[in-house]
Amino acid sequence: MNSVSSVADTAAGPVSTGPVARVGGNPFRFLTTLRPGDILAIAPFILFALLFLVMPTLGLVVGAFQDANGNFTFDNILQLGGPQIVASFWISIRVSAASAVLGALIGLAIAMAIIRGRLPEFIRSSVMTFSGVASNFAGIPLAFAFLATLGRLGLVTVLFKTLFGFDLTRSFNILSFWGLTVTYLYFQIPLMILIIAPAIDGLKKEWSEAAATLGATRFQFWRHVGFPVLWPNLLGTLSLLFANAFGAIATAYALTGSSLNIVPILLYAQIRGDVLHNPGLGAALALGMIVITALANVIYLVVRTRAERWLK
């Protein structure tokens, strides 16, 4: 139904076991069986991938190890240890982790409620449809929506003031760490619901019945079977949510301007005006981001493969 979840599905499949294992064995075997028609069909795709995905990224990786004159250096990488950049990475990691963990927990709770909570069927389909929309509703407009809700003149802020005489802005600032986290949850929770729902559906009714005939209570079933079976999916989705938040910039930029210096915003400013006064350091910053998102995605792929193997 939805894009994000379906792409996530592919990610789990052949990809995770495929490229490393198979390509490693005999990478060019397919060349011997190629026909001209195949080349015509696949060449533009491969060319596009090289020019607009692989090479720009590799260019940055190489750039991270070059000084202004193009000589090899570790200087840029070492400069990532500077206080401003470390602070950026730290706030980015905190926001991503908080929105991923909360998004995963809340998303799981909602998914369990609509799938296993015996709510009317139309609620489930409505939630799934809405999740498809909300997980794609990010960026600038999302920031506007939360400003209109929790900003200084936002509906909820005003309601709290007029109804309870309570000034929300004293304890909660939309332009802060928690403000950004709460906003990110708007696309993190739906993404979690979309990805975890099939896994919850995959928990067979017979497992809980078998556990019951063997004397287990509902709690014991969840502790020994239900949760362990879901665990790889939870862990995998958690990494995916983390990567998702870590790379996001538009929402934060529109919400906080540059008052909350997360890594993508710092990088944005660096690309705009070389605020770090070192183009190589910009590349190193990018490399840092690539490493972190790639790591999170690798965890996702590996863990998903394990989960799939179980559920055959």
Partner: protein, 355 residues
């Protein structure tokens, strides 16, 4: 047998206003292997699930060893169950699966391991303890599921179509193994199936169910040879139908194929001149060369199916067609297609079934 181990009384269950089980009464003896046999939707699985505690009866009682178990949750009933789709826990290896019930019951590890070992030996899967379900074939998974159900020594075993997901060959060997283990442990077992051959071969007694009611409850031999209803006769085994006319209801005689024959099973409710359907199993019909039989009819061979040890002939009698089974005989080849044959039926083998 003095006291019934499991007593089912006036059991009723409907789903969304549609009655699925309509007042079923049954009594099973200790150590008995009973099959619930019937087409899909006959209520057999629902009865099993009510015994297990997954469905709550609308009314009626389920009594085990003298105690009504209605108020017990499934996890308090001490009843083992095997499912059609194996339902092994995917996150546990074979030993952990088999030992799950023991672990829940709080059995210490050394005893648990010994019991698991014993169960794996029983199902012939010693040495498979570290395998995961996805590494096993369907037949192996179902054997593990059986061991898992039996490990906590339940007082009763429920099998819900445990063989239907398996290949034909494995299905036969596993059902023999299940029966062997059941006899060895002497555990009262209820087996749900829609496969009449399976039920006939494995059971001490069979309950034939149709549309939520018991049609017949008896030993396989009785069920097959003395079906009490038309449903049982047609659902269990093959059946021939021969059209006849009642000659004299009082003397139990009918006219068939120009001759008048006495049929011992003819119901007294019929009137003279009424049409009646005589039914019989294919193996009750024989090629009657020379031999005298009560009913003798002439026809032509329409089809010859050589099945190995048995040859099934379809004989065209003009207004009737009849299948008959004869054993293969190395010295006599079966009659060719179109050959004229004479068939004979003993009147004592004829069933006259009411509706």
């Amino acid at each position: 047998m003095a006291e019934e181990f499991l007593r089912i009384d006036k059991l009723v269950k409907s789903f969304g206003g549609i009655p699925v089980v309509k007042g079923v009464d049954l009594g099973f003896n200790k150590g008995e292997f009973v099959s619930l046999l019937g087409p899909s939707g006959c209520g057999k699985t629902t009865i099993l699930r009510m015994i297990a505690g997954f469905e709550r009866p609308d009314s009626g009682r389920i009594v085990v060893e003298g105690n009504d178990i209605a108020h017990l949750q499934p996890n308090q009933r001490k009843i083992g169950m095997v499912f059609q789709a194996y339902a092994l826990f995917p996150n546990m290896n074979v030993a952990e699966n088999v030992g799950f019930g023991l672990k829940i019951a709080g059995m210490p590890r050394p005893q648990r391991e010994a019991r698991v070992e014993e169960m794996l030996k029983l199902i012939g899967l010693s040495g498979y303890d570290k395998r995961f379900p996805f590494e096993l074939s369907g037949g192996q998974q179902q054997r593990v599921a059986l061991a898992r159900a039996l490990a906590p020594s339940p007082r009763m075993l429920l099998l819900d179509e445990p063989l239907s997901a398996l290949d034909a060959k494995i299905r036969v060997s596993l059902r023999e193994q299940i029966r062997e283990i059941q006899r060895e442990l002497g555990i009262t077992t209820v087996f749900v199936t829609h496969d009449q051959e399976e039920a006939l071969s494995i059971s001490d007694r069979i309950v034939v169910l149709n549309a939520g009611s018991v049609e017949q409850f008896g030993q396989p031999f009785e069920i097959y040879n003395r079906p009490q209803t038309k449903f049982v006769a047609t659902f269990v085994g093959q059946l021939n139908t021969l059209n006849a006319t009642v000659a004299n209801a009082g003397q139990k005689t009918v006219t068939v194929g120009g001759a008048t024959v006495t049929i011992p099973s003819l119901p007294a409710t019929l009137r003279d001149g009424e049409a009646v359907a005589l039914t019989m199993r294919p193996e009750a019909v024989s090629l009657a060369d020379g031999a005298t039989r009560d009913i003798v009819l002439d026809g032509k061979v329409a089809e010859v199916h050589f099945l190995g040890s048995v040859i099934r002939l379809k004989v065209d009698l003009g207004d009737n067609a009849i299948s008959l089974d004869t054993f293969n005989d190395q010295r006599t080849p079966p009659p060719p297609h179109g050959a004229p044959v004479r068939i004979g039926i003993a009147s004592s083998d004829v069933l006259v079934l009411g509706n």
